[in-house]
């Protein structure tokens, strides 16, 4: 039985290699397709934890989502399950800006971003999210 393949080898490697790490692309292996990417701007309420914001992902399946957040006026990007670091010292550890990106999740309809904001003022964050492969 014919097993058709489409392979692109890395420089110095051969397309008839059996090591998947020798390839830039190999049709035997799925690629993570970026089905959609977009930016969501969120205004975090002051002194409030567990704030959720949703975006419809417009897919017929539950997708894998990755997301990155940036706080207005601060030039660094932070990931889910972490705080935005304001300063750091070897004996003090990191000090947070008061904003924590708790998690990103997806269900059959929406992507949900969840934040804490311990500041006494509203904070604007932009979240860049990627709709990748199917989860279910």
């Amino acid at each position: 039985m014919i097993h058709p393949e489409f392979k692109v080898a890395k420089i110095g490697k051969r397309a008839d290699s059996t090591n998947p790490n020798d390839f830039i692309f190999h049709s035997d292996y799925n690629t993570f397709k970026i089905i959609r990417e977009d930016t969501k701007q969120i205004t975090l309420a002051a002194s409030t934890s567990d704030q959720s914001f949703t975006v419809p992902h417009n897919q017929i399946f539950i997708p894998l989502i990755t997301a990155y957040a940036i706080q207005s006026g601060i030039a660094q990007v932070f990931l889910p399950n972490s705080v935005n670091i304001d300063s750091w010292g070897p004996k003090l550890g990191w000090t947070s800006t008061g904003v924590r990106f708790n998690y990103v999740k997806s269900d059959a309809t929406n992507i949900t971003f969840n934040f804490d904001n311990s500041n006494g003022t509203t904070i604007v964050v932009s979240v860049r999210f990627f709709v990748l492969e199917v989860v279910n």
Partner: protein
């Protein structure tokens, strides 16, 4: 399935404009045609208030001015969409998609700006009868800007303080002159599908061997087709040199086993499709962080960095092994009987900073071994 050329999600909508008899006779949002293509359809976020009359249809115009600030439509209408009655709109905001048919299926040029315009002159109503158009009025981030036609001229909403949610789609059609013919589609489920590979020689020049029948031919792409280079370079992130062979293909798809690459497959049926972005691997870097915890100090921590120098925020994935344990996705936190430990990562435009931190009663040496995978994909955050 039509492919999005440009869009601004309706999830950003937080306000609206209303139109009725006597309103500005044109109202629209500029967009970027991206990779270009044959115009398929467009959507705006609309609703009806009360009982408006008239019709809903869209126009496409050429663009002039500074995109995202002073841009306005120019020239004659390039394309007119099919129409629906305004009375058919929902009373709640919904994306209204209108098709461009026949001679209105114009080809949008790649990397060219255009205007999607609602024909507000064809909307009638007074008092509480109107058509609502959703907008984002709180620091919107669409690339274009709004323009409105009144007093005989187009006027831009400068400063990009408001944007309209919209979608513009191109055809997904694969023309015989610009793509793989059906006889040469790559589908592991087809018994007579071609099998071929591209393998660079030791000199760096790729060689291509096609082991199937002559039906697997590749013709140059048309202007609306993405190019697919299969020439590897020494760095996966750099552009191929002119000396490497390049293949110009139309839409290129590789289907999963048992699936077909033809007939508008869902992305979940494909291993690869040139219609979707991919993560472009750049580099993997190991960063070792080590420090000795001092029980007299509440928190002990260490920091490491990798300088990517890409001058933008790159997509990255980070894993960390604490004290030689299993690698876990970073950021993360763990705990022992008397202490808490955690790892964090911060991305800047030139480097990735990684942190390890321990708090509690402990005096041992702690190691945080980070693996940082950096991709060339720009997060487009600022």
């Amino acid at each position: 399935m039509p492919v999005i050329l440009d869009s601004y999600s309706e999830s950003n909508q937080d306000n609206s404009f209303t139109f009725q008899t006597g309103s500005p006779s044109g109202f629209g949002q500029s967009f970027d045609a991206g990779g270009g293509g044959v115009l398929n359809s467009a959507s705006l976020y609309l609703k009806k208030n009360g009982s408006p009359g008239g019709i809903i249809r869209f126009f496409i115009y050429a663009h002039t001015g500074t995109y995202g600030d002073t841009g306005v439509p120019t020239g004659s209408i390039l394309a007119t969409s099919d129409q629906i009655n305004a009375s058919a709109l929902s009373t709640s905001f919904a994306l209204v998609n209108l098709t461009f048919s026949g001679g209105n299926k114009i080809t949008l040029s790649a990397s060219t700006k255009y205007f999607l315009v609602l024909d507000t002159a064809s909307i009638t109503g007074s008092g509480s009868d109107s058509v609502g158009v959703g907008e984002d009025a709180s620091s919107p981030t669409a690339g274009g800007n709004i323009a409105s036609f009144f007093s005989g001229a187009w006027h831009a909403f400068t400063g990009s303080t408001q944007d309209l949610p919209f979608y513009v789609y191109r055809d997904d059609a694969v023309s015989p002159s610009s793509s793989l013919s059906p006889s040469s589609s790559i589908s592991p489920s087809a018994s007579d599908s071609p099998s071929f590979s591209v393998s660079p020689s030791s000199s760096g020049s790729p060689s291509a061997s096609i082991s199937s029948s002559p039906s697997s031919s590749y013709s140059p792409s048309a202007s609306n087709s993405p190019s697919s280079s299969v020439s590897p370079s020494s760095s996966p992130s750099s552009s191929p040199s002119p000396s490497h062979a390049q293949f110009e293909l139309g839409i290129m798809r590789v289907a999963k086993d048992g699936k077909s690459a033809l007939n508008n497959p869902a992305p979940t049926d494909l291993k690869f499709s040139s219609e979707y972005g991919t993560l472009k691997y750049f580099t993997k870097q190991a960063v070792h962080v080590q420090f000795t915890a001092d029980p007299a100090v509440g928190v002990n921590s260490g920091k490491g960095s990798y300088s990517h120098n890409l001058n933008y925020y790159p997509y990255c994935e980070v894993y960390v092994s604490v004290n030689g344990g299993d690698y876990e996705y970073c950021p993360f936190a763990g705990s022992g009987a008397t202490l808490l430990y955690s790892a964090n990562v911060i991305i800047s435009k030139t480097k990735i900073d990684v942190y390890g931190e321990v708090s509690g009663i402990d005096s041992s040496v702690w190691t945080f071994d980070f693996l940082i995978f950096v991709f060339k994909n720009d997060l487009h955050l600022s």
